[in-house]
């Protein structure tokens, strides 16, 4: 991929050099080094052009251009992630001019060459929507998971934590909105050509402690060279049935360009401290005592005299550190890079932590006069995760603040507990008694061989073998003296799960690249095969006879259960792509991929996904030359993509055996059961067809650049767990292809060089990106006659089995589904006995929308939705002398969150519902609710926000070593929002239910090049 381009460029340079030598008498030589203006780190691959001659800098940043005509020239240097630099150079015939080119990093990425999947392309030749984020533009500070690097950087790419500020917790990426309801909405991740399952696989396997952490955590963010986002169907169609949610290509760093160089060492390290950025608004001890006095005086006898801040009792100031040591070097025609990383990040809740040791090795070797390029990359990491036990946050919100933390007489390990099973449990007890830990070893690697076939110019063949292997262990222990254990009847639990995964991939493809005069053709075609297997053994031992052995042994458990689940998955594909360019102005791309997947039913085994795109570089037309446009390109693309991220074996009717606790008594015997499953034997991919209309623009010598995009995406054959007609299948639901949805949106990207001081002067680059997306479910059931509604969303806290979201045609996916609360003149939700029947209930509070005289569940209606209308990002990068300063702002508009903490605790019956009073959400002081109003629209809040994501100040010592930079970063310095809960981004579901608190982080770090 990269290699071939480099070889082509190298050949080009060589020919230029040869040509230059012939004219030696009237020419001179320009040599020099290209360095990062900031860090003085040498930059390789910088394209340096003078007098129509071009060279590329080597590993040390050195370049040589011979044969430059004598005279004064403008030397121009361009490089991915840096602003183009221009120097004036005077060349004297026969002499050598030496120059140091200081390149300034750009906030804005004007990369020349971008990855496109099975190849690379010059940005100017792109017909699809491909956006690259190079390392220079990454977010900085406390970064545990790689996805955090690009938050706010690319229009239409939403990066959301699945569980707030949990260190290393799961992260979701949505590119141009979701295309699926029940299947994954995550993009396909491809790391150095190897696809990895994210949002599936090991992270989502069920375990009592909840889900595991992010599957991408094995990647050291410092090892990443670039992210490339394939947004439209033209760009992602090459990934066929995995491309519907877009594709994220991740390239890791390598030693490219270090051939024949001595080893170089670099170090990056930082230390950070994080604090909780937002707490739920609950009553303090004084307010709580007052509420009990006023509303439930009979409960006063239970109250203690303490004033405990339970939230504070489970929080901590979290310390983090991260170090990466990298060596790069080479010999002859080989190069390598080896890096060792260490990360240790505590969470702001006690007991949660993430520790990572990572190793990354990249090796490149060119053989046989550069005809054969070998590339190998192996990365591996050990992640050790500690989890805050699941119930801690909820208990800290609910536990009465009048009660003490400890109680020497308590049978629950010395922690105070209410003497009633329904009452809230002591979160500190849970925290200290329960342990939940995991260790994951994960390695990903590939070996790639690219061979330029002799005889046919421009024809090469590539073969790649990649693998992904994971071995992990999750261990959970809760002693019998933990009150939760007593209540759920477990009486002490030891459990352990040891999931493992092995996937391998083979790819073979041919590439042919050729120019004939005004015609340029580039063809890629090949075959790919992917196969993976997951083994998931686990056991649970409950009702322990002793707590003595902790998680390490099982002292005579009364109940023992073991499970084993094995999953296999295979995907075979043929793919091809042709790019054609006429006069560099008229560009055409056509792509096709055919996928055969083990997940598709027999009748739909193979799927074909085509796409096509055209582009016109108007700025190359004579009539636009000399105007303000330095670049103007119109693009149109259309394509089909699939989504096959659903469970394995859906097409098979399976018979599942029951466990020993689910037996049936027949006389004196207990018989284990076997159950047939519901099945749609023809299940297949979800299919998304998209259009994209785009304009790339550049004004005034590219001081202002960017693009405008308009897209539509129509997804059909959506997979739902649809309610089956009673009697027609072997469950209440079956997973099947049914339903359609639509997304359309506009994206605007603007990169501006606001100040361009040369040398030490002040420079300021700014990037603005705006994305609007509108989602609409168009159909959920073609057979339906009446109103179509499917309840959706996760179960909320409060009321078992309650959901507050809906799927309804004409509305966005997962719209909230709530009553319309009647408001009084001042806009406050009413709470009074309007109909005078002696009680305050639904009949009094909510609008009877179907006008049948009764307010019941049929009166709920879709109301707002969790996804934002607008996502806006801004990055500014300023430099002055040795200082650099950057900031990243992120804003959402039109996203709504259901404040489940308020709805499940903001009512006075909390004081009496269980035997002992629970704390209240402060909203109750406003609303006065006595009974819960889970389904009131009062709790669906506008969660639009503006956040200062990242603020960084750095200083570079240019002469120290080979570069030394010190910097400080503040993440989430402020969030401006009208949302009353802890975090307006909540989770991807839009339900704010005791999520892990978001953090504010202060980081100090240094980068050194030796």
């Amino acid at each position: 991929m990269m290699l071939s381009v480099r070889i082509c460029l190298a050949a080009l340079v060589a020919s230029v050099v040869c040509a230059g030598q012939l004219a030696a008498q009237t020419t001179g030589t320009v040599t020099g080094r290209t360095v990062d203006a900031n860090t003085q780190e040498p930059l390789q691959y910088v394209s340096v052009t003078v007098a129509d001659l071009t060279a590329e800098s080597d590993f040390d940043g050195r370049f040589v251009i011979t044969g430059v005509p004598a005279g004064t020239h403008t030397l121009r240097a361009t490089f991915l992630g840096y602003r183009p630099a221009e120097y004036t150079v005077t060349v004297i015939a026969g002499a050598t001019a030496n120059i140091v080119l200081e390149m300034e990093p750009a906030a804005v990425m004007l990369e020349a060459i971008v990855a496109t999947g099975y190849g690379v392309q010059e940005k100017r030749d792109l017909t699809g929507v491909v956006e690259a984020v190079p390392a220079e533009a990454f977010n900085t500070g406390r970064i545990v998971s790689a996805e955090e690097l690009i938050r706010g950087k690319v229009a239409g790419v939403q990066v959301t934590e699945a569980n707030g500020g949990e260190p290393g917790g799961g992260i979701s990426i949505r590119i141009r909105g979701g295309t699926s309801v029940t299947s994954s909405n995550e993009p396909l991740y491809v790391i150095d050509g190897v696809p990895i399952p994210v949002g599936g696989g090991l992270t989502s396997l069920p375990f009592p402690g909840g889900e595991g952490r992010n599957a991408m955590n094995f990647l050291n963010p410092d090892d990443i060279e670039s992210f490339t986002i394939l947004k439209d169907a033209s760009a992602s169609a090459i990934y066929g049935s995995q491309g519907a949610n877009g594709v994220v290509l991740i390239e890791t760093r390598s030693g490219r360009g270090a051939e024949g160089q001595a080893a170089r060492l670099s170090y990056r390290g930082n230390f950070s401290g994080s604090t909780v950025a937002g707490r739920p608004d609950i009553l303090n001890a004084t307010q709580f005592r007052q509420a009990v006095t006023d509303q439930a005086p009979q409960q006063l006898v239970f109250l203690g005299d303490e004033s405990t801040d339970w939230l504070k009792a489970v929080e901590q100031s979290a310390f983090g550190q991260e170090h990466t040591l990298a060596v790069t070097g080479g010999a002859g025609s080989m190069n390598y890079r080896l890096s060792l990383g260490y990360l240790n990040q505590e969470g702001v809740l006690q007991a949660s932590k993430n520790e990572r040791i990572s190793l990354n090795f990249a090796y490149n070797h060119s053989l046989f006069n550069d005809r054969l390029n070998l590339h190998a990359n192996v990365m591996g990491a050990r992640n050790e995760d500690q989890y805050t036990p699941g119930g801690v946050i909820g208990s800290a919100t609910n536990m009465a603040p009048t009660q003490p933390i400890e109680d020497p007489d308590s049978p629950y390990g010395g922690y105070y507990e209410w003497d009633d099973p329904l009452a809230t449990n002591n979160p500190v007890g849970e925290l200290n008694l329960v342990s939940d830990k995991g260790t994951t070893y994960r390695s990903l690697g590939n070996v790639t061989a690219e061979y330029f076939l002799p005889g046919v110019d421009g024809l090469s063949g590539t073969a790649r073998v990649g693998y992904l292997v994971t071995n992990s262990e999750r261990q959970f222990f809760a002693p019998s003296i933990n009150k939760t254990e007593e209540e759920d009847g477990s009486f002490g639990t030891v459990s352990r799960a040891t999931p493992s995964e092995f996937g391998w991939q083979f790819e073979g493809f041919l590439r042919y690249e050729r120019d004939w005069g005004q015609h340029g053709l580039n063809f890629t075609g090949g075959y790919a095969y992917y196969s993976s297997r997951t083994d998931f053994p686990r056991f649970f031992a409950e009702e322990l006879n002793s707590d003595l052995l902790g998680p390490d042994g099982i002292p005579a458990a009364e109940t023992e259960r073991t499970f084993l689940t094995i999953d296999e998955n295979k995907l075979a594909s043929w793919f091809g792509r042709a790019n054609y360019a006429f006069r560099d102005k008229y560009l055409l791309t056509a792509t096709v991929r055919t996928d055969g997947s083990s997940r598709f039913g027999e009748a739909n085994r193979w799927a074909t996904f085509p796409s096509a795109a055209v582009a016109w570089r108007i700025s190359e037309e004579p009539f636009l030359r000399g105007g303000p446009f330095s670049d103007l390109k119109l693009r149109v693309s259309w394509g089909k993509n699939g989504n096959q991220a659903f469970d394995n074996y859906q097409q098979y009717k399976t018979y599942v055996f029951g466990d020993p606790l689910a037996q049936v008594q027949f006389g004196p015997l207990y018989i284990g059961t076997v159950r047939p499953s519901a099945v749609d034997s023809a299940i297949k991919w979800e299919e998304t067809s998209s259009w994209n209309f785009g304009v790339d623009y550049g004004f005034w010598d590219n001081r202002l650049t960017g693009s405008v995009e308009y897209y539509t995406k129509t997804t059909d054959d959506l997979i739902f767990d649809v309610i089956v007609a009673g009697g027609s299948n072997l469950s209440n639901v079956v997973t099947t292809n049914i339903g359609s949805m639509k997304n359309w949106g506009v994206e605007l990207t603007l990169n501006a060089i606001l100040a361009q001081g040369s040398g030490d002067g002040f420079s300021w680059d700014a990037n603005f990106n705006f994305a609007y997306n509108k989602n609409e479910l168009t159909e959920i059931n073609p057979y339906a006659t009446g109103s179509e509604q499917i309840l959706a969303g996760p179960f909320i806290s409060g009321g078992v089995g309650s959901t507050v979201q809906v799927l309804q045609p004409g509305e966005p996916v997962n719209s909230f589904f709530v009553y319309e609360h009647i408001l009084d003149a001042s806009g406050k939700p009413i709470y009074e006995d309007v109909d005078g029947d002696g009680s305050i209930n639904e009949q009094d509070l909510y609008v009877d929308r179907n006008e049948d005289g009764i307010v019941n569940f049929d009166d709920r209606r879709p109301f707002k939705k969790p996804t934002p209308d607008w996502i806006m990002g801004h990055t500014s990068l300023m430099r002055w002398r040795n200082f650099d300063f950057s900031l990243t702002l992120l804003a959402y508009l039109g996203n709504y969150v259901y404040n489940n903490v308020a709805s499940s605790t903001g009512f006075y019956d909390q004081l009496t519902d269980a035997a002992r009073p629970s704390n209240l959400h402060a909203s109750v002081l406003e609303t006065g609710f006595v009974t819960p109003q889970y389904f009131s629209d009062v709790y669906v809040e506008d969660a639009s926000f503006l956040r200062l994501e990242n603020l960084e100040l750095g200083y570079t010592f240019r002469r120290a070593l080979n570069g030394l930079r010190l910097y400080g970063v503040i993440q989430n310095l402020f969030t401006l929002t009208g949302y009353s809960g802890v975090d307006p981004t909540a989770t991807t579901t839009g339900i704010d239910n005791n999520i892990y608190p978001r953090t504010r982080t202060f980081t100090a770090g240094l980068n050194v090049w030796f």
Partner: protein, 526 residues
Amino acid sequence: MRIQQISTLCVASALLLAVTACDITTEPKSSASDVTVFEDEGSYLAFLAKLYGGLVLTGQQGPHGDGDFERLDEGFSQYMRQLWQLQELPTDEAVIAWNDAGLPELSTQLWASSNQFVQMMYSRVFYQASLVNEFLRETTDEKLAERGHTDLADEIHRYRAEARFLRALSYWHGIDLFGDIPLVTEDFPIGPVPPEQSTREVIFDYIVDELIAIRDELPAVGAALYGRADQGVLAMLLAKVYMNAGVYVGTERYADAFNEVQLVIGGPYQLAGTYQENFLADNHNSPEIIFALPQDGQHTRTWGGTTFLVHAGCGGSMDNNDYGHGGCWWGLRVLPEWVALFPGAPASPDARAILYTDGQNLQIGSITNFTDGWAAPKYTNLTSGPLPLPGSHAEFPDTDFPMFRLADAYLMYAEIALRGGGGSTAQGTAYVNLLRERAYGDQTGNITEPELTLAFVLDERARELWWEGHRRTDLVRYGLFTGGTYVWSWKGNVQAGAATEPFRDLYPIPASELLANPNLTQNPGY
């Protein structure tokens, strides 16, 4: 090696990989397929156990996990728990304090067609029918012959009869609760085509025909293993179907009911020594129980059934240890109108008034407040006898749910006699007095033959069979469930009680079902 050789080698190995890497078939490994499962002869019995288990369990893991249903809370979705809620909560026998979505509106008879509990019950009925249909399809003589299992044929014929009994039982619940529903048999293939709506009349006939057809294939009255169906269980079901024929098909069938009741009464069943023995952790020993849904703390764990009844009926100042379990759930109480059926309550001489009044108000000011309404610990996880012991697990009781018991047959006899379906009111009075003598401990509570009226029988059924899942059907048969003739606390959503619309004698076809099956027409009124 020369370049030529290397490239040949590369191309060859690449091609080899490509060719071997074409297989895209995978098959389930950790579960059986419909082809492999019956290679193990034990699978027939295991599948039959699943059919019975469908009334008790909610999935393949106890107490929950790998549920039969998706998108519904698994603990809620238990068959008996939902049947119980739909039969008891809208009546004068029970209220529940919880605010789970759709639960309060069951108590007030104001349920919506989107009510999740209505949906769960409907799904359970058809889940049972679908499982039975699949069982019947997989156990035909042809299939057995194909698999070389003809030696099992006799045993499997009996399994098939039991399966059909279970299907008839669920269809009875279906027409009782929902009226006109589809009739899906083993001839209806699994697939995307939704079944047609049938009628109460057709399904009524189908149930009767089925039960009569399988009668001789089941063991004699009282001869089955505990927890399984025999001719006694079948007769009891038929009796209850006939009893309500007037409601279902507009034609009374009391004479037919009488024959079935006689079969039951003539069987080996006897009243247990004390009333409460039928509802305790060792109630599998009760000679009175005709058909039970067994639960066991060590083998059969569920969040429904008696787990729900034992825990939810406990709260307030009650000490859970007194009832043999680990914690109260603060849910179920009885209504003052039901309490009024017991003279002198709470100190009633009638031992069937199992009440807990300490710190509880008789009147129900608020449904959601557990201390409003007297508690009633009828079901416990303690064994019977003078020295009660807790069951084998503190959370999951050993107590079995008594679906059919002899006392019900006696009361049906009395009602049939009064309605002229057969038998004598004298014998009916005698049967009722058997129950009352046990309740009073002596004959002071006995009634005379003239005192035996239809109204008395209804009240007596409430005294004897409360919280056993019969009340709504009984009130509908007497025409008192909806309307304003008889009102009780919170009927119609007011504490004093108010008339409700007669269409609520039937539950709505769930809104989600109308979406899934366009062949269905909603019940009138909804």
